[in-house]
């Protein structure tokens, strides 16, 4: 196994472009090291991106935040400004694994692991987050939901990697929230996860909303129809019931030891309503 710790983004893409099939980007390693042990495979090439300048920074830009690909999730929670503007994204990132995992894992890695149960992804999708990709042919930026293509599969091309996640400013009277369901208190993989982001009109009704559902399909579902049920409302009970019903309807979960299809479809509705309430309250305080 070849292990490289390049200093520039160009070196990363060049290495990845020249590497074999089993070439991997290493940031926190919380997925990669476990997979290498469990599946007992040896990587051809590991490219450690932690030494690259700026890769571990959270940057406030004119219209949002840029989160470098090597920023551990714990650092997001320690960033007061980010936590104020995007509390739901930060909460989601700080639900991944345990305290120790959060000290290493990254939201870019969580995205590229392409698990339908990734905690940070529904929150990012609801937030309208973008992934900035560096590759041998330069940079491109895509919505985060375009990255995962199904369990373990991404749309990244040979030589490409995500260098940063971009979170746009949500504007005034906005709020977001993420809730997930697990059978124990902490340290588990989401059985269902729901991210909600909404912005209120001046009269207090919901002007725009985004709802994203995790672990109820092969990849995270952006539930546009669900969001529409609450736009124009003040999140009264009929709106919440409609939101829950549509979220259940558009979910296509599998049954496994963590929950049946019926259970996941029901829980996704309950969590969507609860998350929407939190986001609504946050938007009102904004």
């Amino acid at each position: 196994m070849r292990y490289e710790r390049p200093a520039t983004i160009e070196d990363v893409t060049a290495l990845l472009a020249s590497g074999g099939e089993k070439s991997f980007v290493l940031a926190g390693g919380t997925d990669l090291l476990v997979r290498m042990k469990n599946d007992a495979f040896e990587a051809d090439l590991i490219v450690d991106i932690k030494a690259i300048e700026g890769m571990s920074d959270v940057t406030r830009t004119a219209d949002g935040f840029e989160i470098g690909a090597a920023v551990p999730c714990a650092a997001l929670g320690e960033n007061a400004e980010l936590s104020r503007v995007w509390p739901g994204v930060v909460e989601a990132a700080n639900l991944i694994g345990s305290t120790q995992i959060q000290g290493r894992c990254t939201i870019s890695g969580n995205l590229c692991n392409a698990s339908p149960a990734a905690d940070s992804v529904p929150a990012m999708v609801a937030a309208g987050a973008l992934a900035r990709i560096a590759g041998p042919d330069g940079r491109r930026t895509v919505p985060v939901q375009d990255i995962p293509q199904g369990p373990g599969k991404t749309s990244l091309r040979k030589g490409e990697f995500i260098e940063a996640i971009v979170l746009p400013d949500p504007g005034p009277r906005s709020g977001d929230a993420y809730l997930r369901f697990i059978p124990r208190t902490e340290m588990d993989i989401a059985v269902v996860g729901v991210g909600v982001q909404l912005t209120l009109a001046e009269d207090g009704s919901i002007a725009s909303a985004r709802v994203a559902l995790g672990a109820v399909g092969p990849k995270v579902i952006e539930a546009t129809e669900a969001a529409e049920t609450i736009i124009g409302t003040r999140l009264d009970q009929p709106a919440l019931d409609a939101l829950a019903a549509v979220c259940s309807e558009v979910s296509t979960p599998i049954a496994d030891k963590r929950g049946t299809v019926d259970f996941r479809k029901q829980v996704v509705g309950v969590l969507a309503a609860r998350a929407a309430k939190i986001a609504y309250q946050r938007a009102g305080e904004d």
Binding site: Y3, G29, A74, G97, G103, F181, R258
Partner: protein, 910 residues
């Protein structure tokens, strides 16, 4: 230098270490194997357990998830490298509060705590939860850990009892220092230079025939030795119960469970560790398989053992009175069918050990609960005389029953005999979960009746238990369950039967309670049905039927020293308070949350069921006046080393710290049997009491005092005090025996039991312990989640030899009972890791109120009874009954009550 390695400089506690390593190697492995920092424990290699938690630049990290190259330049701290007043204070607090039981998670827990305490010197409980959320502990139930961290500033109560006052005092664990220092030696921690590594080639099938290819060429090409069943020199069968040994150390031609070893690979660690065992030459011919008791018992099920038709390992029964007639004539009858799952012990230490040759004796130092069984069975498999095998139990990083079976012992023994070199084996988490025993899954049907006055009239019970591929402790479950199925209640008319059925699941063995926790779920759920039907308060219903002194059990045994009534009485005020609070909460509830309370009791016979299980304790005094206690009971965290020492000291009249522990070690300690069946405090304790008394008599014989108040070692002998009189017994210069002792005593105790007849009548146990617990829970009706808020546990321990250790057992048992009730379900082939198999974390653990009841047992040492297994029996049924109270759902007949199961039941109920 191997290909792909590079120089790395690690800075550990300010000191630089230049090493050469593959850059992607796990930091945990490098710290342990290259730098010898063995306080860094490896429990899962996946970031699930936190045992390898260290500080990197002051922040807690799982060292197993950090490639060594990423640690270069950072400041690393491990428990043994920390030397500051805060850490000293934390270690003292852990000792004072009994926060370390087996101690395997302790270094990781302490490192996470150090990070917290550096920032927050006086943390709240919530802050401790937050900081320790990533470290699993399987022994303590976390409560004592939280106390130790939160009460860091509270000065410890001095507990150095006077001679004769040790019993009843909350003395510190006598073997605790190494646990809090991180220097305790577990199965994976003793690695002399030149030790070879052993790995097993395991079956990828549940049931298959196989043919090995050219294994020697395969091995030679890779510079390793391959050992197969053909290389086993003795009888390739081991087991736990005489006559039922059926498990090959290495499979011969057929495998019966997923993960069964078919060959060993032995060689240099850097060769064996990265070896791809997927290329091992073996051809598989998969066979049909069964995984449940129902599948195993089916007419067309694949048969596992030729001599056990129908896959029936054994049946057990207890019959008294006329149960059918009694039920027919009952005013109220409750019946139900209950199912429980495979439950994994999930100790944080996967099985590990090392073997070496000392002249012509094979020495094995591995984690175990049963050193003499290990010796005898390993000797048989390896074709050695028993006295040529010496077992030195390593400190056990948790056991809970599964380390009562052989694991690595015959395998590393074989490798050592074949190579002449020290050989070690360290199972990965998934190997441990594949190859270790489990709690028996059970399918139980029961029917219980009572009169209009609420008195139990009769009961019938049948349980089928999935005993998996090999016998292990299946027979014990099949016997214990019928004996205990009535619960600790007067049941004049009774029939209970149990059957242990083979399947191709993992072997079910011993797990804290031997099937009794499963049976208690059936019985205690039906008691709630009956109490409701009879219109009697649920606690009062149990009090009405509770066994009392002079009552006879369903086996016809007359009981004495029954403290169940006292336990229930002690719970009454809590029950009324909790009832009131839950009703008040629910009256005001508008959302999805509802509260409920539940109660359940337990009883449990201490020691083997109707079979001899003697313990022998030896005490010797050297001419220099040193008192040596040869104590062979393995301490797996429960505290046998401490409790046995307390009893021996008081019986002898010596101060506690005058005794020096020897063993366990089959070469140095007489047989104290197995650490099972909650027998050590009682059986070995009784032997220790007898040995202490005998020692005192021997000493007194050398004086002319009529009696003594205390004995103390002095230079060259002993000083005996009787009131104002003092006499010295000079030992220096006296003749010594072959062990070098001037005085030596040895006493054996075996419980006075009888074998059970065909109807299960007799005296299966000489001592029983009793208890009852209340659960207060909060259920989210929309999500089906249950949060246990508070457990109140009253346990009759006869005499609390060490109250702090008793409470530690209660809290730890409750954590495991909570897991059994709410989250733990081992699915063969799908949950062999600690992220798919969930055990309670610090955040799941409720507040626990422990109440120790001391109704002396006439037989137990100083009145003491066992406790270790009793504590988890009532937890699951109390929680189930509380969920029913909160939701109104009566159909909770399968554990764990996973949220999707509870939601489905709530929907069905609505």
């Amino acid at each position: 230098m191997k290909d792909g390695t590079a120089p790395v400089t690690l800075r550990v506690a300010g000191r630089e270490h230049a090493i050469t390593s593959a850059p992607g190697r796990r930091l945990s492995e490098v710290l342990r194997e290259e730098l010898g920092l063995r306080s860094v424990k490896i429990g899962c290699d996946a970031g699930d357990c936190g045992a390898c938690t260290i500080l990197v630049d002051g922040v807690q990290h799982c060292a197993c998830l950090m490639p060594v190259a990423q640690a270069a330049g950072a400041e690393i701290e491990t428990l043994e490298t920390l030397d500051d007043p805060l850490v000293a204070q934390l270690k003292a607090s852990f000792l004072d509060h009994g926060a370390a039981q087996c101690g395997i998670c302790t270094p990781g827990v302490m490192m996470a705590a150090v990070e917290l305490l550096r920032e927050t010197p006086a943390p709240s409980e919530a802050q401790v939860h937050e900081a320790l959320g990533g470290v699993l502990c399987r022994c303590t139930g976390y409560r004592k850990i939280i106390e130790a961290i939160c009460a860091l500033d509270t000065p410890a109560v001095e507990t150095r009892p006077e001679a004769g006052q040790a019993v009843g005092a909350p003395v510190r664990r006598v073997d605790g220092r190494a646990k809090v220092d991180g220097t305790e030696v577990y199965g994976a921690d003793h690695v002399p230079l030149g030790t070879l590594l052993v790995r097993a080639v395991r079956s990828p099938h549940f049931h298959a025939d196989f043919e090995l290819g050219d294994v020697s060429t395969w091995g030679a090409r890779r510079d390793v030795i391959v050992l197969t069943a053909r290389d086993v020199p003795g009888e390739n069968r081991f087991g736990t119960i005489p006559g039922l040994e059926d498990q090959p150390a290495i499979a011969e031609a057929r495998v019966r469970y997923l993960g069964e070893p078919v060959a060993l690979v032995v060689g240099a660690p850097d060769v064996v560790e990265p070896l791809d065992l997927g290329t091992f030459p073996v051809e598989w011919h998969p066979l049909g398989h069964s995984l449940t008791e129902a599948e195993g018992a089916a007419d067309d099920a694949p048969q596992l053992h030729d001599h056990r038709p129908g896959n029936t390992l054994i049946r057990g029964r207890v019959i008294s009175g006329r149960p059918e007639e009694a039920l027919a004539g009952s005013r109220h009858v409750a019946r139900g069918r209950f199912e429980t799952s495979y439950v994994e012990h999930a100790y944080i230490e996967p099985e590990a050990g090392i073997a070496w040759l000392d002249d012509d004796t094979l020495v094995i130092q591995a984690c175990t609960q049963a050193p003499v069984l290990d010796r005898d069975e390993t000797a048989k498999v390896l074709g050695l005389p028993k006295d040529k095998v010496r077992i030195i139990p390593a400190a056990s990083g948790g056991g809970f029953g599964a380390k009562l079976d052989l694991s690595v012992q015959p395998l590393i023994g074989l490798a050592t005999l074949a190579t002449g070199q020290p050989c070690r084996m360290v199972w990965s988490r998934s190997e441990s979960m594949l190859a270790s025993t489990k709690r028996h899954p059970g399918t139980m049907e029961a029917e219980i009746g009572c009169g209009a006055d609420g008195r139990i009239t009769g009961m019938t019970f049948h349980g089928d238990f999935n005993t998996g591929a090999y016998a292990s402790w299946g027979p014990t479950v099949a016997m214990r369950v019928p004996v205990h199925a009535s619960g600790p209640y007067r049941t004049a008319n009774f029939r209970a039967t149990a059957r242990a059925v083979h399947s191709n699941g993992p072997s079910s063995g011993a797990f804290r309670g031997f099937g009794v926790p499963q049976a208690a779920i059936a019985q205690e759920s039906l008691y709630d049905d009956l109490a409701r039907a009879a219109g009697i308060d649920r606690l009062a219903f149990r009090r009405l039927n509770a066994l009392r002194d002079g009552d006879r059990t369903t086996c016809g045994q007359e009981l004495h020293g029954v403290g169940l009534g006292a336990c229930l009485d002690a719970l009454a005020e809590h029950w009324h308070r909790a009832t009131h609070e839950a009703a008040e909460f629910n009256a005001g509830a508008t959302g999805a949350l509802r509260r409920g309370i539940g109660i359940a009791s337990c009883w449990y016979g201490c020691g083997n069921t109707g079979l001899p299980n003697p313990s022998t304790i030896r005490i010797g005094i050297t001419p220099a006046g040193q008192v040596m206690l040869h104590q062979g009971a393995t301490d797996i965290g429960q505290g046998a080393n401490t409790v046995i020492t307390q009893i021996a000291a008081d019986a002898a009249g010596l101060p506690l710290d005058a005794l020096t522990l020897v063993g366990p070690d089959t070469a140095l300690t007489p047989d104290c049997g197995k650490t099972s069946a909650s027998r050590q405090t009682y059986v070995t304790g009784k032997a220790a009491e007898a040995a202490g008394r005998a020692l005192r008599a021997e000493i007194m014989r050398r004086t002319n005092l009529p009696d003594c108040d205390a004995i103390e070692p002095v230079e060259g002998g002993l000083r005996v005090r009787h009131g104002a009189q003092v006499q010295d017994v000079a030992l220096s210069g006296t003749q010594t025996d072959e062990l070098g002792y001037a005085i030596r005593v040895e006493e054996t105790y075996d419980p006075p039991t009888t074998a059970l007849d065909a109807d299960g009548q007799g005296t299966p146990y000489a001592v029983y312990g009793y208890g009852a617990q209340i659960a207060e829970v909060e259920v989210d009706l929309d999500l089906g989640t249950t949060r246990v808020l508070h457990m109140i546990a009253a346990h009759d321990v006869g005499r609390a030899i060490n109250p702090q250790l008793c409470v530690g057992q209660i809290e730890g048992g409750i954590a495991q009972g909570l897991g059994l009730a709410l989250m733990e379900e081992f699915l063969p082939g799908r949950t062999e890791n600690l992220h798919d198999y969930l055990i309670p974390t610090i955040g799941d653990m409720p507040k626990v109120t422990s109440i120790l009841i001391e109704t002396p047992d006439p037989e137990g040492p100083m009145g003491a009874k066992g406790l270790g297994e009793h504590v988890l029996i009532p937890t699951a049924p109390a929680i189930l009954n509380a969920i029913r109270d909160a939701t109104g759902v009566a159909a909770l007949n399968k554990v764990p009550v996973l949220p999707h199961r509870l939601r489905a039941a709530i929907r069905g109920h609505a």
